[in-house]
Symmetry: C2
Subunit: 353 residues, 2 copies
């Protein structure tokens, strides 16, 4: 495969010097882009799009055709693993993910198997390979997965939840069963991310979307412990290239020190955290990715420029910052506002390097 | 009015010595209690129940008949103020609150008026007076309101939201209009809480349910600033008795020092915060209220006892702790589990005093 022409993202994740702050956006290939909606319509559904490597590659590249971003992220979903385990992922229009067969009975939990990525998740690996070829080394390709705990939340609840009653009832009543699920998920996530790396992913990100619903002790026991195990099991170098990893616990602002101590390369930050204070707390140890409130992109150009500059200035001088939103981009974002964001990062960030 | 027989809550909120840790539960009069559901059925709806002082007094007292709690909280809703402003509060079965006439146009915002509590919220003041009489000094009665920012969220969104797109678009596009709403809300909340105090409330709590959706700078500008103004305007003493106040920003664990510096007497903590660390950060300045995960009450007696003891031990020796959940009690809580919680606080907490 071609060598990277723009390795700014990789260098920033490894806290090496860069000329400017690299930028990519969570969910950058998404419904705010008209071309994405057209491809999705051709695929028939979100999930059909994920499972079609040709079309998934097409949408992976779409935001790069519009904006000078410093990374592509493979188009996929955080819940491919439980789908490969046989839980039956589907999406209802206008709602979040749902599983047809959520974990209800102890025997279902005991029967869980780690899916072989080459067999059950080959469509993702095909997308990684095709996207790498199509990118031709322009920018790095990021692979990703949901975290063991976040997968468990969806597998137990059967979908999103306002109170996570089912997963918490299991946690407090039958912690050993939840640990069993997390152990299987942990091995599945590690194998899956390593398969993405083997297929060509040049950085990987773990989305711990629901770790923040836990108390401090429970976060350590049921989420962080398994994040650490995944990090320990990840391929760190492939063909002489370091493959950096990023951990993102939404709502995890209270535990940054402990997450940073997991051995990961970078932390994703949601927008509620002051990135300057976060850097003081953990900046010597890991790179930081984030963290503009995605809602700023619903405002006008002046507010976007001010928001971008405020994040850059809060992080301050020095390397180790990857500009991103603090959560996925909103489907209601006017595409031209993303141009304003990316241009402002490009124009304003060299002064900090 | 009768003098308090059990003033443990008031003393703890003022960080005065107590023999044990007082306990009450957010939403302690609620759907988990069969007697509550019966009274609500007689009233016809949740809102009809709020607006009927006889029945609201009845449900205010119901949890005290079952459990040896150290406080009653007036049965009401956090959104009574915007309802009194004419926005038309209603509740759809199984869903959260909705406003018939959310703020959409600038003229609607400019026309907002501070409601006179004696005129538009007399039903709440009547409930306070009746509940005080019925309590006959057994335990203190807590009054409450939503915070200026939390009220604004509902007034602008028209209900709950997953992304608070409308309020954040206003915040980033027309901050001066949001400040206008917050200024009106601030004056309304202050007058309303003072009217509750005048009617007999012996402590007051401000629920900043949605402050945690903001970035750090935005939290300070759009929520905390107005919390401070409310605190500054509150009646602190009535008929020689101190009236303590409690601020609770859900998801505000990153900003405890700043919230504690507002001049409030106590901070409510959600369950994601370690109460021992919170005490180290702010304990010399304010009392702390919380913070067991309400989901622990869905587990068995052993998990509940362990959870209660873990919160007591994390807070540690000394006064200034009010035991509570980190969020409102779940409607799925078996009532007998609340007995286990309250008994464990009573049995285990004297060792810390």
């Amino acid at each position: 495969m071609t060598k990277l022409k723009n390795d700014t993202l990789i260098r920033a994740l490894l806290r090496q010097p860069t000329a400017y702050t690299p930028v990519w956006l969570m969910r950058q290939a998404g419904r705010y882009l008209p071309e994405y909606n057209q491809t999705r319509a051709r695929a028939g559904s979100f999930l059909a799009l994920c499972k079609n490597p040709d079309l998934a590659t097409e949408v992976t590249l779409q935001p790069l055709a519009r904006y000078p971003l410093d990374a592509a992220i493979v188009f996929s979903d955080i819940l491919t693993i439980p789908d490969a385990m046989g839980l039956g992922l589907h999406f209802l229009e206008g709602e979040g993910p749902r599983f047809e067969r959520p974990l209800r009975e102890e025997w279902e939990i005991r029967n869980l198997q780690v899916p072989d990525p080459a067999e059950h998740l080959s469509y993702v690996l095909d997308t990684v390979r095709q996207a790498r070829r199509a990118l031709d080394g322009a920018v790095p390709l990021i692979g990703f997965s949901g975290s063991p705990f976040t997968l468990a939340c969806y597998m137990i609840e059967g979908g999103g939840s306002s109170d996570f009653r089912a997963v918490k009832t299991l946690l407090y009543r039958r912690p050993e069963l939840l640990h069993h699920i997390l152990d299987v998920n942990c091995r599945a996530v590690t194998a899956y991310l390593n398969a993405q790396i083997e297929a060509g992913a040049q950085a990987v990100m773990l989305f711990d979307t629901w770790g923040g619903i836990l108390g401090t002790a429970e976060f350590h026991e049921f989420s962080l412990r398994y994040l650490q195990r995944v990090v320990n099991g990840l391929t760190r170098e492939r063909r002489g290239e370091r493959i950096p990893n990023i951990l993102f616990t939404k709502g995890g602002g209270g535990w940054l020190e402990e997450i940073a101590a997991s051995g990961c390369d970078a932390l994703g930050l949601d927008w509620t955290v002051d990135i300057g204070l976060a850097r003081q707390r953990v900046g010597g140890r890991v790179a930081l990715q984030g963290n503009l409130d995605p809602a700023v992109l619903l405002a006008g150009p002046d507010a976007i420029r001010a928001g971008v500059r405020s994040v850059l200035s809060a992080y301050g001088k020095g390397d180790g910052h990857v500009f991103n939103l603090g959560h996925g981009i909103s489907q209601y974002t006017p595409p031209e506002n993303v141009s304003v964001l990316v241009e402002t990062v490009r124009d304003s960030s060299p002064a900090y390097h």
